[in-house]
């Protein structure tokens, strides 16, 4: 073990204080800004939008996603740690971009997930990802987007949409296995995933949106009880 979770160096304490204070402040600001635009349209653009419209539409969406909005932060907390939570849920695209970046950063400097070094590496990795992502969005979507829309063949964007997740998750699983370097939890996670996807979810379709959460919790719990004890 390269880390001690009980003794906390003062510098790390400061890091936690800064990130939880500023993480919260920036996230509240981001939340308000993301709501302000749509609210302005509804109130001042005279599109005939009523409160009934908004309630009807939001309730329909919330029925599908509200539970997910609560389950997902819980699912990713043990992986991201408190500091990166405020980054991840504002920058978005967590499973297909931010977690891969965090795992890659940890792997590059040989810091295991869950250690203090791992947490700092993850935060730096996500910062790097944020810089690249903000820049590429601004340039390729914000500035060049309309032109690219006419220049890129539809077959390319369609393949990107259909196969983006498959092309990322396989590679990231390999990266995760190489970075965690623990055979037993690896085998347990694969067995759990097969059971969740092919047995549990088909048997109880209501659990469809909880697949990942189930996989995370079951793998963590079983790995804990099956750990080698000396």
């Amino acid at each position: 073990m390269t880390t001690s979770t009980i003794t906390r160096p003062a510098g790390l304490h400061e890091f936690e204080r800064t990130t939880s204070r500023w993480g919260r402040i920036t996230m509240v600001a981001g939340l308000l800004l993301s709501l302000a635009g749509p609210l302005y349209i509804a109130l001042f653009m005279d599109l005939g939008i009523t409160l009934a419209h908004v309630i009807t539409a939001y309730l329909a969406v919330a029925t599908t996603f509200l539970v997910f909005a609560i389950v997902e932060p819980i699912t990713y907390f043990p992986i991201l740690g408190p500091a990166a939570m405020y980054q991840a849920f504002m920058i978005g695209n967590i499973a297909n971009k931010l977690l891969p970046a965090a795992i890659c950063a940890q792997g590059r400097i040989d810091a295991k997930p869950g250690t203090k070094q791992g947490d700092l590496a993850a935060v730096m990795g996500i910062c790097g990802a944020a810089i690249v992502h903000l820049t590429s969005l601004l340039v390729f979507v914000g500035i060049l987007g309309t032109w690219l829309l006419s220049a890129i063949p539809e077959s390319v964007t369609e393949v990107a949409r259909l196969y983006i997740l498959p092309s990322i998750v396989g590679a990231v699983l390999v990266q995760a296995i190489a970075s965690v370097k623990q055979l037993r939890p690896t085998l347990i996670s694969l067995a759990v995933a097969v059971v969740v996807v092919f047995v549990v979810v088909p048997a109880v379709p209501a659990l469809t949106y909880f697949g990942t959460a189930l996989g995370v919790v079951a793998t963590a719990v079983i790995s804990w009880f099956a750990r080698p004890r000396g």
């Binding site: 400061e14 890091f15 993480g23 908004v54 890659c104 590679a171």
Partner: protein, 251 residues
Amino acid sequence: MSSTFAAAAANGASTDIGAVANSPILWVFALGVFAVIFVQTLIYMKAARTAGSTVGLERKDLNRALRSGAISSIGPSLAVVLVAIALLALFGTPAVLVRIGLIGSVQTEVASATIASAALGADLGGPDYTQQVFAVALIAMSLSGGAWMLATLILTPLMKRGGNKLSEVNPAVMALIPGAALLGAFSTLVVSELPKSALGALTILVSTIVMAALLLLAKKLNAGWLKEWALGIAISVALVFAYFAHTATTA
């Protein structure tokens, strides 16, 4: 331009989505979200650099971590960009930037917009997809995405307290759980993609094999830079494979 904009904006039944969706006020708030994330990134980088030395991480290590995160996200970012461009006609640039590029993901946001439009009796992108429907869908997407942020704001401090308590009681738990949780998440993501389509499953296989080969090679050659580029290469190879296989089977 501004006169057509005003005329169109006053008519909720118009299907000229762009007139509302690309309005300057939406741009201002969208760029505001960018600015907030940028500021957050700077604060976090500075905080991590200050804390690094106290846990035995040199500045060189932290810069490597930053660069790795940046390089490894080129592939995923460009993939997101491609999909975002395809959705510009439906939502306009500012909404695509904020909802799909940031905060949410393609899958949830498109699903939310579809559900919201359907609740108003319209098809997303169909002949009855009016400015009014777009605006209501955007509000519903934003409220729904906001729920994720609100849950993060409320739950993170609670879980942090729980985690700290757990690590005091039993330090071994915290050495095991994050790694196991990570493996659990990606194993489930991989396995749940498998039954969706045969070509999707093959694409996963390609990306898995390329990544494994690159990591072995990086270890053999002791080439750290290869670890940074591995994800981008794996994604590119897998997407190129999917493109040719997809066009071959649908042609």
